[in-house]
Amino acid sequence: MEIRVQAEPFDYGAECNAFAARAPGAGAVVSFCGIVRDASGQLARMEIEHYPGMTERALTKIAAEAGERWDLADVLILHRHGPLAPGETIMMVATAARHRAEAFAAAEFLMDYLKSRAPFWKKEITATGEAWVEAAERDESALKRW
């Protein structure tokens, strides 16, 4: 299991390859990445605030919970904080398992919990102002299925 919280950019593809390479017994690897989306065409940047200490603790707990629910060969969670430009990669998760159903379920579980239970907050900065991203009701609802 690997948990990383960092301000620096990361190379999504290189992380995917490194993750897949170190899980040779696992036939199935699922990865997810979140990208800064500029829905309005006005976004100058996104800023991600987090709670150092609690962040790592929350992510470790979520990853461990996934490891208890599914038979996983490996789990990776990587999340950036600080300023990000449109198109930049915000975060990724990856899961490796013997069978694809487990790898998919675990990756979705990680994302659902990470969205609403890990202490990150996003702010969008445009030319005309800035606004904190509001939590979506569907993200809270998504937890109910697990």
Binding site: I48, K115, S116, R117, W132
Partner: protein, 83 residues
């Protein structure tokens, strides 16, 4: 009891500080929030809608009814928006 209080996102912005140390006799998170509200309008504004505020005690998510006995670090923040 000495507590470190942390604020994040728009709670931090409304209160104007990322952290402070307080002396308090509050027994629960809700009592601590009442004390803070009484201190200053900035706090009253930040805590005007508790449905929009989350709390962590010693870096674990908790709730407003939780007791503060033994707690060293309280954090207030809006619903999380990671991922």
């Amino acid at each position: 009891m000495t507590l470190t209080i942390l604020y994040f996102a728009w709670l931090r912005e409304r209160i104007g500080e990322p952290r402070e140390t307080v002396q308090t006799g509050a027994g629960t998170v809700a009592e601590l929030v009442e004390e803070l509200r009484a201190k200053d309008d900035r706090y009253a504004l930040a805590f005007s809608d508790l449905a929009a505020v989350r709390v962590a005690l010693d870096q674990e998510l908790s709730d407003f009814n939780a007791p503060l006995a033994g707690v060293r670090e309280v954090a207030f923040f809006p619903p999380m928006t990671g991922g």
